[in-house]
Amino acid sequence: MTTTSPPLIEVRRLKKYFGKPERPVRAVDDVSFAIHPGETLGLVGESGSGKSTIGRTVLRLVERSDGEVLYRGEDIGALSAEKMRRLRSKLQIIFQDPYASLNPKMRISAILGEALSTHGLAPGRAARDKRIAELLELVGLRPEHASRFPHEFSGGQRQRIGVARALAVEPEFIVADEPLSALDVSIQSQVINLLADLRERLNLTMLFISHDLDVVEYLCDRVVVLYLGKVMEVAETDALFERPLHPYTRALLAASPKPDPTLKTEHVPLTGDIPSPMAPPSGCVFRTRCPHAIDACAQHVPPLEEVAPGRWSACIRKEIVLMKAAA
């Protein structure tokens, strides 16, 4: 899917360091990508790869350390608090844990109503109630659920409420931060279908953060693969899953077992643990676990380069990457 329209969200050389400046935790280290209108971009990686921090930094829920986040060409990091508050109706988030992200003391009507009144939408009791009923129906719940409290719902229903709250303010862009990982498999597919339907009906642009590669393959148009706060590979979903180029992507795909006993995956588990983001390896951050690492990998940080149209990979062992690309 090549699109010529300007990106809705553009992230340029984003950095987010935590802790003391002398010895920072490099949670996000020089990450760039763009999301086009209507596109769903997947952000995959293991713990500590910086996926959630990117999601939060993009929405300015945490302040970046360096770099830019452009929304329709405008750097949101430079906006005043007042302008940012108004812009928030366009940029929303769905959280991972539907148990922790709903206030247990608020009725569903208040949870959704708060989002509406903050942005001055649906003013007046009647209009507000009508909009809340619409939102509940939109996510597959019933209008009478508005008077209930979060504890009266199951995990899947709570996640639907989380989706309704994000949609209440008619956003253009949604960060979905592991929205399915707290749910059981049979409930997961209900929420996947809901997200896919709403995306189409409301023409939403999404940043979909997940560690579940199967879900990413199903829902996303393009994928950014992260490791220790850095981008390893960017590709369109089908291309990435059919022919992963970067050694880390290949290892990640091989490690995730497909639910089919007849498919034998090439079994080369990565050795070792993910290094600490406080002391990342020099050069390529993946080199300590990479089966193809050579001395030169420790010297320089490999740049993210376009190796095929729309495919970017950060690896200096071009012959290995390109051999895979040609195979």
Binding site: S189, L213, H267, I274
Partner: protein, 339 residues
């Protein structure tokens, strides 16, 4: 054909609560063959973990669990015993020795105030009567066995000094210390990243090949089941709804719940070379409350094939082929043949 390592028959576990009796596990039967892995699959509340805790006799006394049923566990010495009726001192001699367990969260299942060497040594001192020095030497061998680098140094470290994957390796070393014949692994890789999960699964596979132990693998991850189980038992609302060898189960699931569970996986949605379907299959609704189970089949309210007979009574678990069972009115029973 050798006798199964463990046979579980009609196991039920209920808990009295203020709101009534909750039957967490109801009439569960399955077997685990020597040297094989049986996976217990199900979603939250299906009774997987209660089944394993009942078998290990680890349910808290204060829970006042009501347990019924029989088990036949073949010990290392070849005697057959019933884990459920064994007196407490006898089960204590088995637990951590012939019967071991690893848990989902390696941080909370290791003791934070003892070094990992001391924790592994404790079980061999207790069960094998080794002295302190020999027990520590054994602990070091166990750390080597689970491929922990610099084991001599790690021996004296505390759980918080290790990563999640390393902690789960320590848990496995602890469980393997007395050379168990049956290892119960309750979601052992759920808290781990996929590349670490692959390492731990590979390790468990290697240890099983070397020691011939049986594994009861409790998980909700069907991808892991597909590649690491020999037999699969699918649970729903405390009951076994289907059991089969792994190949036939994935190729031709018989129970509507198993069919739905496999159909709703995004990883199965796209056959190679074809476009993604617009919608995933979804099982509608949600699991009924264990306090108010439906009168008939527990899956009936969510089932697309439900008929009146489903609401009348709970279907029996019937034999449907070689080593296959299912609990559904639509599945025709097959007379038990010489398998």
């Amino acid at each position: 054909m050798t006798a199964p390592r463990l046979t579980v028959q009609h196991l039920s576990t209920s808990f009295p609560t203020e709101d009534g009796l909750v039957r967490s596990v109801a009439d569960v039967s399955f077997t685990i063959d020597p040297g094989k892995t049986t996976a217990l699959v199900g979603e939250s509340g299906s009774g997987k973990s209660v089944t394993s805790l009942t078998l290990m006799r680890l349910l808290a006394k204060t829970a006042n669990a009501q347990v019924s049923g029989q088990t036949a566990f073949v010990t290392r010495e070849g005697t057959t015993i019933d884990l459920l009726s064994l007196p407490e001192p006898a089960i204590r001699r088995l637990r951590g020795n012939q019967l071991s367990m690893i848990f989902q969260e390696p941080m909370t299942s290791l003791n934070p105030v003892f070094t990992i060497g001391e924790q592994i040594a404790e079980s061999v001192r207790l069960h094998k009567g080794l002295d302190r020095a020999r027990a520590l030497a054994h602990a070091k061998r166990m750390l080597d066995l689970v491929e922990i680098p610099a084991s001599a140094q790690r021996l004296h470290e505390y759980p918080h000094q290790l990563s999640g994957g390393m902690r789960q390796r320590v848990m496995i070393a602890l469980a393997m210390a007395c050379d168990p014949t049956l290892l119960i692994a309750d979601e052992p890789t759920t808290a781990l990243d996929v590349t670490i999960q692959a390492q731990i699964l590979e390790l468990m596979r290697r240890l099983q090949a070397e020691t011939g132990m049986s594994i009861l693998f409790i998980t909700h991850n069907l991808g892991v089941v597909a590649h690491h189980a020999d037999d699969v038992v699918v649970m729903y609302a405390g009951r076994v709804v289907e059991s089969a060898p792994v190949g036939p189960l994935f190729a031709a699931p018989q129970h509507p719940y198993t069919q739905g569970l496999l159909a709703c996986l995004p990883g199965k949605a796209r056959p190679p070379g074809q476009a993604r379907p617009k919608r995933l299959f979804a099982i509608r609704g949600q699991v009924s409350s264990p306090l108010a189970p439906p009168p008939g089949c527990a899956f009936e309210p969510r089932c697309d094939h439900a008929i009146d007979a489903c609401r009348a009574a709970m279907p029996e678990l019937v034999n449907t082929g070689v080593s296959r069972q299912a609990r559904c009115v639509h599945v025709a029973p097959v007379l038990k043949e010489a398998a």
